[in-house]
């Protein structure tokens, strides 16, 4: 009698085990991704929409079975822009078994560079600082670096300035993030780029930029290339407008034309500066919803599906978040399609193979994403936008800055 009970219990146990195993096989695998970013704290005006872009795209992938029965679990954590918190988050993510990581700030990307290499995990940061790539194998910038962006803007100035050598001032953030591109632009000038940097201004929290503007004007500065965040640029261009020195069209003689890299522009600049942002020239590697296209239509649909308001739906930071999630998911899809187990190593391999015929066009960017062993800048093309009528509109076709390859 006792033996009979043991046999029945064993059979019931075995059946349960089989059902459980079959069930999990039907449910597919779950791949863990993670991002630590500033959802609150400094720069959260960018980090918050970015986090929603990542989250919404991952939800879309799971809801629409983009990976079949497999799912993506993306852990999104706030680090309030504190590098120590980012490091702690990253270590916890590793314990959770993530296969790819998306980081955020320049400071934390630089600080964790060695950890990424030690862990051999591919990292897609929201910081496009070229210095991230120095002595690093695993950091991959989604779009052209800030240096490439600033060189691209300077090239546009050189190519479109009408009277001799253009006099340019740089208005930068007082940090590694801000200073990074200055040296690269100087190299481009040494390589023949026909502009002159008259002054590099590291801004503070200024309530009145009159003295600086008058000083730059007295030195004949006609173009100001900004590489910082929107708020100081907004105060600067509002003061320039008040003093009557803002150019009403590109290169207007005796006036200043303002240009800026990724984090200086977008709808946030217009929200802060109002009509003083008119004729601000801005470059990024992302498509904007003000320029209809397949990627932007998808972005607006995604935002609508997940109940996002108009402001978020049209934010380029939301686009940036979607884009890194797109790249991460596509990498997983390719690993699976190639019959590989989804691991840190296989995803890194797939990312580096993302070139030539294997390049990936997420449609949310101004060109395809290409990575290789020697190329860790994903999108190569930049699009110039110009603020007009309260929105940024495309200015000419997307381009690859010529001098970027010349200084490498």
């Amino acid at each position: 009698m006792r033996n009979r009970r043991v046999i029945i219990a064993t059979i019931v146990g075995a059946v349960f085990a089989c059902v459980a195993m079959t069930g999990s096989a039907f449910a597919g695998n779950t791949y863990k991704l993670a991002i630590s970013l500033a959802i609150t704290g400094p720069t959260s005006d960018a980090g918050n929409p970015y986090s929603k872009g990542v989250g919404d795209y991952v939800k879309y992938v799971n809801d629409n079975k983009i990976l079949g029965d497999d799912k993506v679990d993306c852990m999104i954590r706030d680090d309030a822009y504190k590098t120590d918190v980012t490091k702690r988050n990253f270590e916890e993510f590793l314990d959770e078994g993530i296969v790819l990581y998306m980081n955020y700030s320049t400071g934390s990307t630089l600080a964790l560079k060695k950890d990424f290499d030690e862990e051999k995990i591919a990292v897609l940061p929201a910081s496009y600082h070229a210095g991230n790539l120095l002595d690093s194998n695993y950091i991959l910038l989604p779009i052209p670096s800030y240096s490439s962006q600033v060189i691209g803007l300077a090239e546009y100035v050189a190519n479109n300035h009408k009277d001799g050598k253009a006099k340019v001032a740089m208005f930068i953030h007082p940090s590694a993030f801000g200073r990074g591109p200055v040296e690269d632009l100087e190299k481009a000038i040494a390589a023949g780029l026909n502009i002159e940097i008259v002054e590099v201004v590291e801004h503070g929290k200024d309530l009145d930029n009159t003295a600086m503007i008058k000083r730059l004007q007295s030195k004949g500065v006609q173009y100001v290339v900004c590489h910082t965040v929107q708020s100081p640029v907004a105060t600067f261009i509002k003061d320039a407008k008040r003093l009557g020195v803002s150019a009403s069209n590109f290169g207007e003689a005796g006036k200043m034309t303002f240009l800026g890299a990724h984090y200086t522009g977008g709808n946030d600049l217009i929200a802060l500066a109002g009509d003083a942002a008119e004729n601000f020239f801005w470059t990024t590697g992302f498509m904007l919803t003000s320029v209809p296209g397949e990627g932007t239509d998808f972005q607006l649909k995604l935002a609508k599906t997940y109940g996002r308001d108009d402001k978020l739906a049209n934010s380029h930071n939301y686009t940036s978040g979607i884009m890194v999630a797109q790249v991460a998911v596509e990498t997983i899809r390719r690993a699976l399609a190639n019959g590989k187990a989804v691991t840190k190593a296989s995803l890194y391999e797939e990312l580096l193979a993302m070139n030539g015929d294997n390049s990936y066009d997420p449609k949310t960017t101004t060109g395809p994403v290409t990575f290789s062993k020697t190329d860790h800048e994903g999108v190569d093309k930049l699009q110039l936008y110009r603020a007009s009528g309260g929105v940024f509109k495309g200015e000419g076709a997307a381009f690859v800055p010529e001098y970027v390859s010349k200084i490498k």
Partner: protein, 297 residues
């Protein structure tokens, strides 16, 4: 020469706004000897309340500006009542630590609203054409900033010198025990000091928000940015805040105008005010107009 005068005017305008931002520190310190580290958060809250009233509720901007001052008056009074009232008589360092905690709480509360992570600006209200005279230009927002500062300084100076409440506040500031012994309610005085500080913070937030746009990081940074002004002026002196604000504003503008960009110098506009502060404090350790207390043992 117009360049020089432009720098003078810009410096005085910026200095006035610094003084307005610094007033909240001074008012609280003057009555309770407490430094409110969360002052920047109240400045930001005032700006966002003005925005919410004018954009979301549809109240004209100038009325929203006045209403936000009234709201922050009561908000700051409530903050004092809830968080600080029970600390009366406790060591000052404990109270300052509470204001650091308060800063984190206010940060968290603002991040719970959309204002924490959005970039916004007030609807256009003032004429966009600046006021220009002899090559010197000033925007309407800046002019209003100077006028609001003047009204606050004038009003508070009168209040402290002539009104019974103001004299009570000064009495509490001089000696709490003596003030209590003549029937002055110290808790009420503290509450009123916080309320007035809240009101001035909202005014500063409205003016700064109009100049820089509404970005939480930028706005609350002014709480700390004006700290040198408060120290230089002498912590408990309203006139000191004004004079120090204008000195700081002028130093910044002259440094930006004459030093930065020349002889390889850069960023002197941000550093020089601190250097001047350090030098002045060597000779005037209580600030320019601060009370020099002498304890006889």
């Amino acid at each position: 020469m117009s360049y020089f005068f432009q720098l003078v005017v810009s410096g005085m305008v910026v200095g006035s706004i610094y003084a307005l931002s610094a007033l909240g520190f001074v008012l609280i310190y003057k009555s309770s000897r407490v430094l409110n580290i969360a002052h920047g958060q109240i400045i930001a809250a005032g700006a966002f309340i003005t925005y919410a009233l004018t954009v979301m509720v549809g109240i004209p901007l100038y009325i929203a500006f006045l209403l936000s001052m009234i709201i922050t008056f009561f908000l700051a009074m409530a903050v004092e009542r809830i968080f600080l009232r029970k600390l009366i008589g406790e060591p000052i360092i404990s109270v300052i630590m509470v204001t650091i905690g308060l800063m984190s709480i206010l940060d968290g509360l603002i991040y719970l609203t959309p204002f924490g992570t959005l970039n916004l600006s007030f609807p256009p209200f003032f004429p966009t054409t600046p006021i220009s005279l002899g090559g010197v230009s000033i925007s309407w927002t800046q002019l209003v900033g100077v006028l609001v500062t003047a009204v606050f300084i004038g009003g508070l100076s009168w209040f402290f010198k002539k009104s019974t409440l103001g004299i009570s506040m000064r009495a509490v500031s001089d000696d709490q025990l003596a003030a209590m012994s003549v029937g002055i309610s110290v808790p009420k005085v503290f509450g009123l000091a916080w309320a007035l500080a809240g009101m001035s913070a909202a005014a500063a937030g409205g003016i700064i928000g109009n100049i820089t746009g509404l970005n939480f990081d930028t706005l609350h940074a002014f709480g700390i940015l004006v700290f040198p002004v408060v120290i230089l002026g002498g912590l408990d002196s309203i006139i000191g805040a004004v004079v120090a604000g204008i000195i700081m504003g002028l130093i910044q503008q002259f440094a930006a105008g004459y030093l930065d960009g020349n002889w390889g110098l850069n960023g002197t506009a941000d550093v020089l005010p601190y250097i001047v502060l350090l030098i002045l404090l060597l000779f005037k350790p209580h600030g320019l107009f601060g009370t020099h207390e002498i304890e006889r043992v």
